[in-house]
C-alpha cells in the first residue's frame, strides 16, 4: 500500500480523535453500566439476552451515526475548507486520498467498536458473573457490525464525493434505513407481478443488505452462526464496500475543485 494512503488515513484518525469523536464512548459506558445494573434488578433469567441485545444495538447505532456524520464530510468538508488544495498539489493521486480517508474513518470505527465491545463484555460479566461459550458469538456479531460500518462509511464517502454534507447525510441515512429492511424488500419483490417485480427486485439487490449482516437477535438467543454465513457475509460486505469506493473514486477523479 502506498505510504501516502497510510499518512492520509492516520491524519483522518487523528482528526476524529481530536474532534472528540471517541467521547461517544462515555455515553456508551454510561448506557451499559446503567443497563447492567437495571437489568440485574428487574429481569430474571434473561439478563444476558437483554444485555446482548441492548449492547449490540447500541454499538451498531453509535457506529452508524459516526460513520454517516463523519463520512459525509470526509471529502466535501475538505473541498469546502480548501484543505484539499495543499494535499492534491503534492504527489498524491485522487484515489489515494479517497482510500486514505476511508481507511482513516474505518480505523476510527474499529477502535471505537473495540472499546464498546469491552463495555458489552464487562456488562455481560456483571450480569452473568462468568463468561459462557455462547459469548463467542457476540464477537462474531461485533465483527459483522464492523462490516456494516465499512459499507456505510464507503456509501457516505460516495455521496460526499459529489454532494453537499446535508444531502449526503439524507442519502446515506435513507440508504441505511432501506438497507436494514432489504430482506423484506426482496420478499416484497418476489410477490409483486410484472414490471414492478423487476423494478423492486433491482432496487432490493442494489441497496446494501444490512439486514443479512444483522445477527444480534440470534446471538442474544445463543444461536450459533455458521462459518459459511460469516464467509458469505464478509464477501458481500467487502464487495459492496469496494464497489462504493470505486464509485467515489470515479466521481472524485473527474471533479473540478472550484
Amino acid at each position: 500500500m502506498s505510504s501516502r494512503i497510510v499518512h492520509i488515513a492516520s491524519n483522518t484518525f487523528r482528526e476524529a480523535v481530536r474532534d472528540h469523536v471517541l467521547y461517544n464512548l462515555i455515553a456508551f459506558a454510561l448506557l451499559m453500566s446503567g443497563a447492567a445494573i437495571l437489568v440485574g434488578q428487574i429481569s430474571i433469567g434473561i439478563e444476558r439476552l437483554v444485555v446482548v441485545n441492548l449492547g449490540l444495538a447500541a454499538v451498531s447505532l453509535f457506529g452508524v451515526v459516526i460513520a454517516i456524520f463523519i463520512g459525509i464530510g470526509l471529502v466535501s468538508k475538505e473541498i469546502e475548507k480548501r484543505t484539499l488544495y495543499t494535499v492534491l498539489s503534492r504527489p498524491v493521486e485522487r484515489w489515494e486520498f479517497i482510500v486514505g480517508k476511508f481507511l482513516g474513518l474505518a480505523g476510527t470505527l474499529v477502535v471505537n467498536t473495540a472499546f464498546m465491545a469491552i463495555g458489552v463484555f464487562a456488562a455481560l460479566l456483571y450480569v452473568s458473573r462468568a463468561f459462557d461459550r455462547a459469548d463467542v458469538w457476540v464477537l462474531v456479531a461485533l465483527y459483522l457490525i464492523v462490516l456494516q460500518f465499512l459499507m456505510i462509511t464507503a456509501i457516505a464517502l460516495l455521496f460526499s464525493s459529489f454532494s453537499s454534507p446535508l444531502l449526503s447525510a439524507v442519502f446515506a441515512f435513507s440508504l441505511f434505513v432501506v438497507g436494514s429492511f432489504a430482506e423484506d424488500l426482496r420478499g416484497f419483490a418476489a410477490m409483486v407481478p410484472g414490471l414492478s417485480r423487476w423494478l423492486a427486485m433491482g432496487a432490493a439487490y442494489l441497496v446494501p443488505n444490512f439486514s443479512s449482516l444483522n445477527v444480534i437477535t440470534s446471538v442474544a438467543h445463543e444461536q450459533p452462526i455458521t462459518r459459511q454465513f460469516i464467509l458469505s457475509g464478509s464477501l458481500y460486505a467487502l464487495l459492496y464496500t469496494g464497489m462504493a469506493l470505486c464509485g467515489a473514486v470515479l466521481i472524485f477523479e473527474r471533479r473540478n475543485l472550484k
Binding site: N11, R18, Y85, T86, L88, S89, R90, P91
Partner: protein, 313 residues
C-alpha cells in the same frame, strides 16, 4: 527549457441548474515562464488568475489546451514532487499544530523520514513560527496562517513555486519578508510564479509579468520593458516658488510645493527650459525622464472603468 509552458489552456464551466449555460473562466492562454524567473500574474479580482493556478495544480481540469511544468505534463505525479503551491487565503487542518501539519505535508511530499524533522524546523524558523510550532493552528491569526502556507510550499525544496496572492493578509513587515523570501528563492535558482492584484509588489519583484483580465491575456513582458517606454517628456524639479513667465509656454504641467517647483516638459524643450532656469538664477534639483509605471501600463490594458474597479497599488 521553460519552467512553465502553457499552450492554449482554457476553462469553461457549465452554470445553472436546469438551463445550463457556459461561462468562460479562462480563454485560451499561451504563456511561457523561464527557469529562475520571478513571474507576476496580474489582474483585478475575478480575472482568471486563481483559475489558471488551479488548472496548473490539477485541481480543476482544462476544457482545452495543455501545460507542462519542468517539461512534464500537469497530471504527472512526478511533476508535483517538484512544485510548491500556496493557495489564496490558505486554510489548514486546524486541529494540528504547525509542526504536525508540516510533518504531514513532508510525508505526502515524499521527504525522507531522516530529513523530515530537520526540514520542518528549518522552514518554521524561516517563516518566523519556531516559537509557536506546538500551537494548534486554530489559534493562529490570518497572517500566521499565511506564513504556514508559505512554509508548506517551500518545505520540500521544490524547483517551481506557485503563490496565489502571497501578500494577502500580511502586515507591512510580513509583506517585506515575503518579498525577501521570493528574492532569496530566485537567488537559489527557483522559479516563482505568483498572482497578485497589488502592482507595487509585482513592480518591485518580477522579472516579467502577464496581465490577465476577464479570462483573457492582455499583455506580457519584462517589467523593465513595460515601464521604460519613455513618453518623450522629462520632469524638472527646481527651488522656487513660481514658474517664471518665460517658461509657462514650455511646460505642459507644473506643481508648486513649498519652495519646490515640479514641471513636466517635452524632451525637445528640455535645453531651453534649463537655460531659462539658469538665466533666472533658479537652482535645479533634478531632471528625470518620465516613464510609464506598471500601474499605468496595467490601466491601459484594461478599460478605464474595469481598471478603477479592480486595481490597487
Amino acid at each position: 527549457m521553460s519552467a512553465i509552458e502553457i499552450l492554449g489552456l482554457e476553462k469553461t464551466y457549465s452554470v445553472g441548474f436546469w438551463q445550463k449555460r457556459q461561462k468562460c473562466a479562462l480563454r485560451p492562454l499561451n504563456l511561457s515562464v523561464e527557469e529562475g524567473e520571478i513571474f507576476g500574474f496580474l489582474g483585478p479580482n475575478g480575472a482568471g488568475k486563481t483559475t489558471t493556478l488551479k488548472l496548473l495544480m490539477g485541481l480543476v481540469f482544462p476544457s482545452g489546451g495543455s501545460a507542462r511544468i519542468l517539461g512534464m505534463e500537469i497530471k504527472d505525479p512526478g511533476m508535483k514532487a517538484q512544485i510548491g503551491f500556496l493557495p489564496e487565503q490558505p486554510y489548514f487542518y486546524d486541529y494540528l499544530t504547525a509542526n504536525e501539519l508540516l510533518e504531514y505535508y513532508a510525508q505526502l511530499s515524499g521527504v525522507a523520514a531522516r530529513e523530515r524533522r530537520q526540514k520542518v524546523s528549518q522552514v518554521l524558523a524561516r517563516v518566523g513560527l519556531e516559537d509557536v510550532r506546538r500551537t494548534q493552528l486554530r489559534k493562529f491569526s490570518k497572517g500566521m496562517l499565511q506564513r504556514v502556507g508559505i512554509a508548506q510550499a517551500i518545505l520540500h525544496d521544490p524547483k517551481v513555486l506557485f503563490f496565489d496572492e502571497p501578500m494577502s493578509g500580511l502586515d507591512p513587515m510580513g509583506r517585506r519578508e515575503v518579498r525577501d523570501l521570493m528574492e532569496e528563492l530566485k537567488r537559489q535558482g527557483k522559479t516563482v510564479f505568483f498572482s497578485t492584484h497589488i502592482l507595487s509588489d509585482a513592480e518591485s519583484l518580477c522579472d516579467r509579468v502577464a496581465i490577465i483580465h476577464l479570462g483573457e491575456l492582455r499583455g506580457v513582458g519584462a517589467v523593465a520593458d513595460l515601464t521604460s517606454s519613455v513618453e518623450g517628456k522629462v520632469e524638472i524639479i527646481w527651488h522656487g516658488t513660481a514658474v517664471p513667465a518665460s517658461l509657462k509656454a514650455l511646460t505642459s504641467e507644473s506643481h508648486i510645493t513649498g519652495d519646490t517647483v515640479r514641471a513636466v516638459v517635452r524632451e525637445a524643450n528640455q535645453d531651453a527650459v534649463i537655460d531659462a532656469l539658469r538665466r533666472e538664477g533658479m537652482r535645479i534639483i533634478s531632471i528625470t525622464p518620465v516613464r510609464t509605471s506598471l500601474e499605468e501600463y496595467f490601466v491601459r490594458k484594461l478599460k478605464p472603468s474595469e481598471a478603477a474597479a479592480g486595481v490597487s497599488s
